[in-house]
């Protein structure tokens, strides 16, 4: 071969090598771009059936696997919005899809795993994918994100690819209004009796706190004036809901009460009849005045107070930092409280235990009922798995969170007719009748302890306490402070602290008594 022939061959080889390389690189980069852009490759497609609930017909959508190696199925953003029947907004410039879910804005971003809303940011296992001109959302959204963001219940059957959406159990049915001559009555309808508290400290509004309520905020929102009520806002919090009732400026007083066996909360707002020519309203900022209220309900006298020192005997309760035992602290405080309260304004105190003996939980309630107590207060110290937690919390019974069969029992109770004949009451439901008073007592105790003793206020809470079930009287349980927190454990070991706690508890009980005895018995 000649030299010339060799160089031709070399350049031919060079071009032959470089060209495919360049082509290959171009192919790779364009393919990568395509993957990020509209031509996201599909790996599998399958049709699925969605039953959107609320009486709407079922729909068939196509799900795709778009993000290997994950086998996650994706749903098109438009199908998702249709299934949930919510508005959707797509911003192509920033590749964001926003869904209006009740009062939340839920944002998905193509290429990102996060689902962002006002309530939380939740990470999906696989990212949102841009495909065929719109974002596709992993089906995981339905099963692990949606239940946290809305009141929808979700059932996904992976065998036959069926998604059932429904309304999750809420325990507040809705609102209704009754209009009278000089008043408006707002009725909150409940599925189960809930304790409530009306806060009237803000001008021209009443804030109703519904303990243990699960609401669908949209169903309780009122935007148009109804009589003396201008509007109602509803908000769900983790263990309660707040209804903010905005009032007309004509309202001069209100009453709140529960009726229909605790299944209705009535808020009656009233205006004064105009008998004289009203004085001219001065210009300038109005002087803020809170509304005089009247509590209407059952009158309760508080004479016989049952104090329950938590744990005892074989049951040490929480072991504190430094070896302090909960059962000893609770007994010490209970004894101090008896000393403080006994004989004051004719009050009689009964202790469920006055030494280190073992007493069963049901025995304690039975004792309280036998003594015909007017009030039951169980004293405990708190504990936590880490030293960080501190402060005081007060509990009353949450009927809804406890019983599997209380609904059944209640219905049986109502249908068998036994109730009418012998005043038969299911043990589990006894405390329900006092839940309103228990909430009031809990708020008094919580407020008193946290301010008198400068303890962190962890709030009034509800839980299914065994020792409160069956108490035929207002009943609460107070967790004074944390034995697992070094500073608070030191406090709990001091006699002086026990005395101050007892003093604060006694004051709260007397305040509660005054409040209950001022209650006017009246039907709306």
């Amino acid at each position: 071969m000649t030299n010339r022939g060799r160089s031709t061959l070399r350049s031919a080889l060079g071009v032959g090598l470089i060209l495919p390389l360049v082509v290959g690189l171009l192919a790779i980069s364009s393919s990568r771009l395509a993957a990020q852009d509209s031509a996201q490759k599909e790996f599998a497609a399958r049709s699925a059936r969605i039953n959107p609930g609320e009486g709407r017909p079922s729909m068939t959508v196509t799900l795709k696997q778009l993000s290997p190696p994950s086998e996650e199925w994706y749903i098109a953003g438009s199908d998702l919005a249709d299934a949930l029947q919510v508005g959707r907004f797509w911003r192509a410039d920033v590749r964001k899809l926003v869904l209006r879910l009740d009062d939340l804005r839920v944002t998905f971003t193509a290429g990102a795993r996060s689902v962002v809303s006002e309530k939380s940011t939740i990470l999906l296992r696989t990212p949102v994918v841009f495909h065929q001109g719109e974002p596709w959302i992993p089906m995981e959204f339905f099963t692990s994100v949606l239940p946290q963001l809305s009141d929808k219940s979700v059932r996904w059957n992976a065998d036959d690819f069926t998604l059932n959406l429904g309304v999750r159990m809420t325990n507040v049915e809705g609102l209704s209004f009754e209009q009278g001559d000089l008043y408006t009555q707002l009725v909150v309808k409940l599925n189960t009796p809930l304790a409530f508290r009306v806060d009237d400290s803000q001008p021209r509004q009443l804030i109703v706190k519904l303990y243990g309520a699960r609401i669908s905020p949209g169903a309780l929102t009122v935007t148009q004036p109804r009589g003396l009520v201008d509007s109602v806002e509803a908000r769900q919090y983790s263990d309660y809901a707040l209804l903010t009732v905005h009032l007309s400026e004509l309202v001069s007083r209100y009453q709140s009460l529960s009726r229909a066996d605790g299944r209705e909360i009535v808020l009656k707002v009233m205006q004064e009849p105009i008998t004289t020519i009203p004085e001219p309203v001065p210009r300038g900022p109005k002087i803020v005045q809170t509304l005089p209220s009247t509590e209407v309900g059952r009158k309760i006298t508080v004479r016989r107070v049952i104090i329950d020192a938590g744990h005892g005997g074989a049951d040490d309760g929480k072991k504190g930092v430094g070896g302090l035992l909960e059962k000893d602290v609770s007994l010490a405080i209970a004894l101090e409280l008896k000393r403080e309260l006994q004989g004051k304004d004719g009050i009689e105190v009964f202790l469920t235990r006055d030494d280190d003996s073992t007493v069963g939980l049901i025995e304690r309630t039975e004792f309280a009922n036998q003594q015909r107590g007017d009030l039951f207060l169980s004293i405990h110290c708190n504990g936590w798995y880490a030293p960080d937690a501190k402060g005081v919390e007060t509990y009353f019974l949450s009927p809804a969170k406890t019983q599997w069969d209380s609904t059944v029992a209640r219905e049986e109770n109502l249908t068998t007719g036994v109730a009418e004949d012998v005043d038969f009451i299911v043990w589990d439901l006894v405390q329900n009748q006092f839940i309103q008073e228990s909430a009031t007592l809990a708020e008094e105790v919580q407020e008193g302890l946290s301010s008198d003793l400068k303890l962190d206020n962890r709030g009034v809470k509800q839980a299914g306490f065994r020792v409160l079930v069956g108490a035929y009287m207002p009943a609460i349980l107070v967790e004074v402070a944390f034995l697992s927190n070094p500073q608070e454990a030191k406090l709990l070991a001091s006699r002086d602290f026990h005395r101050r706690v007892a003093h604060s508890l006694a004051r709260a009980i007397l305040k509660f008594r005054d409040r209950m005895e001022a209650v006017r018995e009246e039907k709306p």
């Binding site: 086998e71 990470l123 929480k318 504990g383 960080d388 919390e393």
Partner: protein, 186 residues
């Protein structure tokens, strides 16, 4: 040693053709041809699923969620077992706290399909460790029931057992004699 040019050229040509064919096959040929779609079966025993676990916040207020991948199963009790084991392992995040008494272990899981009722049987460490304090007990139950509610929304009730028997409470507070409704703990 001198290799004949013709052999070198042939080898080169074969490599180039191979490379071009590879690039074509990998990046161009597959794209946008819907007839290639294969209908695959959904997750089965061999699959994995992602689950949400709840742990306690450091100050006993609120929950901290974490994700785990578990082996998916057609048998719900196996998946529940895997999820509860993960809960017992504890959180990875430093801002979260494991909500179980020391030494707690899951002995058995049984799911009643008719009642949608889940039985979880733990060892005695659940009730005999250094428990006490309503915060501990409500958060132990809360973290468990919330996790069940989110990962197994079809479960209507959870009955807790210790050594196969019902217990009155875990630490002297919350009534455990009847099944809990997990959805109410969300």
């Amino acid at each position: 040693m001198k290799i004949p040019r013709r052999i070198v050229t042939t080898i080169m040509a074969v490599l180039i053709v191979g490379a071009v064919a590879f690039v074509w096959e990998e990046f161009f040929h597959h794209r946008g041809s819907p007839e290639d779609l294969e209908v695959t079966e959904p997750l089965n025993e061999q699959g994995m699923r992602s689950v949400t676990l709840y742990f306690g916040g450091r100050n006993a207020e609120g929950f901290v969620s974490e994700r785990r991948i578990i082996t998916a199963s057609l048998h719900r009790d196996e998946e529940v077992q895997a999820v509860v084991e993960e809960l017992l392992q504890g959180p990875k995040s430093a801002s979260a706290v494991r909500t179980w008494p020391e030494g707690t272990a899951l002995r058995d899981v049984f799911y009643d399909d008719d009642l949608h009722l889940l039985y979880l049987d733990f060892n005695t460490a659940l009730v005999s460790g250094d428990t006490g304090g309503s915060a501990m007990e409500t958060m132990t139950l809360g973290a468990l029931l919330r996790t069940i509610a989110v990962d197994f929304p079809e479960v209507d009730g959870v009955q807790i057992l210790v050594n196969g028997l019902e217990v009155e409470t875990l630490a002297g507070h919350i009534d455990c004699t009847k099944p809990f409704r997990p959805r109410e703990w969300l």
